[in-house]
């Protein structure tokens, strides 16, 4: 056998081994979700008998449906609000000239990098005064005032759109708003899709804000909070925890396969070039 072939095999075996390692946690989680409660405390990895009914049981034992609906509401509203506020801001930063633009951009990057814990106490006080603690609104409403990461991402995307297209529209008498809607938005569709996806996933996966704002009101919990507290509600039933965990992952996986391209593009865009 020649050397290049050996290298090829070696290379692929590494990649394949790596793939297995990446998949193993998911597979194991799935297998556990199919076990009996007793088997989860044994070293056996393969279910002795299959119990898909665990997936139904988990809906009875915890208000998982409620959690899912809350999470969907959080993720959908957050995404819509983010787009309404951040797309114009990104356009303003990418395509318009005005005093304070660079400073604003620096501040937005600072805000993007700011750990959420830094502003937690003042924001909690703010929402307590507004009477909205105990609900998910303190996590949703801020998106009406823009999301720093989305603005940054969209701005990076819009900068790459040549000014000539915009000038052409303006020659035809279009104002800035019209130019944004008619010219830039259609061209920035992949960027907008990526920003929307990121926001959706951020909200879907979020643990911190639901923990902070809705702890005391179980009616408003999200799935992440529900799962993290599952064990805490007196019993640890690994097969049910695993089933619930699988359920939270499914929408993420499905959406990802449909919108993989937008994602990859979005991630690449936020990394820096040169």
């Amino acid at each position: 056998m020649n050397r290049p072939f050996l290298i090829f095999v070696a290379r692929h075996s590494v990649t394949i081994a790596l793939s297995l390692m990446f998949l193993a946690p998911l597979v194991f989680l799935f297998l556990t979700s199919m076990m009996t409660s007793n088997q989860t405390f044994t070293t056996e990895i393969w279910p002795q008998s299959w119990h898909p009914e665990n997936y139904a049981t988990v809906f009875e034992k915890a208000p998982l449906l409620r959690y899912l609906l809350n999470t969907v509401m959080y993720a959908v509203l957050a995404t819509i609000f983010m787009l309404l506020s951040s797309v114009p801001a990104a356009y303003g930063l990418a395509k318009l000239r005005w005093r304070g633009r660079n400073t604003t951009m620096v501040l937005i990057i600072c805000l993007m990098m700011l750990p959420p814990q830094v502003s937690t106490i003042p924001m909690y006080l703010f929402w307590a005064n507004a009477g909205l603690t105990g609900t998910l609104w303190p996590a949703i409403l801020p998106l009406l005032a823009g999301d720093a990461f989305a603005i940054f991402l969209l701005r990076q995307f819009m900068v790459t759109i040549p000014d000539e297209y915009l000038d052409a529209a303006k020659v035809d008498g279009a104002g800035e708003w019209k130019t944004m809607f008619k010219v830039v938005l259609p061209m920035a569709r992949p960027g907008i899709a990526a920003a929307a996806m990121f926001q959706f996933f951020y909200a879907w996966n979020d643990y911190y804000y639901p923990l902070l704002y809705t702890s005391e009101n179980q009616d408003n919990w999200t799935v992440s909070l529900g799962i993290a507290s599952f064990k805490y509600a007196h019993h640890v039933e690994w097969e049910l925890v695993s089933a619930a965990t699988m359920i939270t992952m499914i929408p993420v996986i499905v959406l990802f396969f449909f919108a993989q391209k937008a994602f990859v593009q979005g991630v690449t865009l936020t990394g820096v070039k040169g």
Binding site: F22, L29, L114, S119, Y124, I227
Partner: protein, 314 residues
């Protein structure tokens, strides 16, 4: 182009950009300036969670003095520093190796990319629960596997020495986002440079060292700085791992009671900040000191990032 001659028209045109920015400017005020200024203000006051909406008492520098004496701050800062020093480089190296492997696998690249990226999207709570299960001492599959080949596996999330490395494993599982950035950067490395180096007799390692690495170095630096900033807010995984792995939760004690398990080894700075504000202590004034300090550190790293990558503003 329509000409606007009147003064009012010019004024309006100059104001137009700001109409695009109104929500974002409100956002900056509400989420950057207001929290910062009020945190500084609170840090000189005695303020308790249970009296949140009542006017706080001024206590001068007491909170700040305590900050420098509080051993929990040192513990938490050490843990966070550990994550910065270990987790960030491990994730970068891991992502780089994966990206290099992907670039070799030409035809199946798309498939592998999907596979490696997927875990990065898994909800952190779900991923953490999965890892606690995977690394369960005694009956978990990893230790079972290790036992089969004659190695006694560690206690992972239940051992103060291994809890942080276990979280690093979890972090490595989710390197997909970095990997994608690196794959794109590697594709941008000019092929001619590689060819020229190969003609000069450079080996695989030398080409990596002298061609690939310098070309992607900005991307690596970007990943390092954002990685550090990410570690400054490392919360969910540490919180969930400790509360799920700990066996003892006295009914009603609250989930925050388990944060840091075992022996405070996963008690990061943001976790301490949360517990001291929203746990039973409710010392919001003191917690504001911790917020202000975290703010300063985070902004410092952000400014370093901005200095290095002016392209963001171009």
């Amino acid at each position: 182009m329509p000409t606007i001659t009147g003064g009012a028209g010019r004024y309006r045109r100059r104001l137009t950009p700001y109409t695009f920015m109104i929500p974002a400017l409100i956002g900056l005020g509400l989420f950057l300036f207001y929290p910062l200024l009020s945190s500084i203000w609170f840090s000189f006051h005695r303020m308790h969670l249970v009296n949140l909406t009542q006017p706080p008492d001024f206590i001068g520098l007491d909170n700040w003095k305590f900050f420098f004496e509080d051993p929990n701050v040192i513990r938490a800062a050490k843990n966070t520093l550990w994550f910065v020093v270990i987790m960030v480089p491990m994730r970068i190296v891991g992502a780089l190796i994966t990206a290099l492997l992907l670039n070799q696998a030409k035809r199946s690249r798309g498939f592998y990319r999907t596979l490696f990226y997927l875990p990065a999207l898994a909800p952190p709570v779900a991923a953490t629960v999965a890892f606690v299960l995977l690394l369960k001492p005694g009956t978990g599959p990893v230790n079972t596997l290790l036992a089969n080949i004659g190695i006694e596996g560690p206690l992972w999330f239940n051992d103060p020495l291994w809890a942080k490395p276990s979280l690093v494993l979890l972090g490595l599982w989710g390197i997909g986002d970095l990997m994608i950035i690196f794959v794109a950067a590697l594709l941008d490395v000019p092929v001619e440079l590689h060819e020229a180096a190969a003609l000069d007799g450079a080996g695989v390692w030398q080409r990596f060292r002298y061609v690939t690495l310098p070309s992607i170095s900005p991307v690596l630096q970007f990943a390092a700085i954002t990685g550090v900033i990410g570690m400054l807010q490392y919360f969910t995984q540490a919180a969930v791992a400790s509360s799920v792995a700990s066996g003892a939760v006295t009914g009603g004690g609250g989930i925050a009671n388990t944060f840091g398990y075992p022996s405070g080894s996963t008690f990061t700075y943001p976790l301490y900040l949360y517990v001291i504000s929203f746990g039973p202590r409710g010392l919001l004034g003191y917690a504001s000191v911790l917020s202000v300090v975290l703010f300063v550190v985070a902004v410092t790293f952000t400014l370093i990032l901005l200095r290095r990558f002016r392209t963001f503003l171009r």
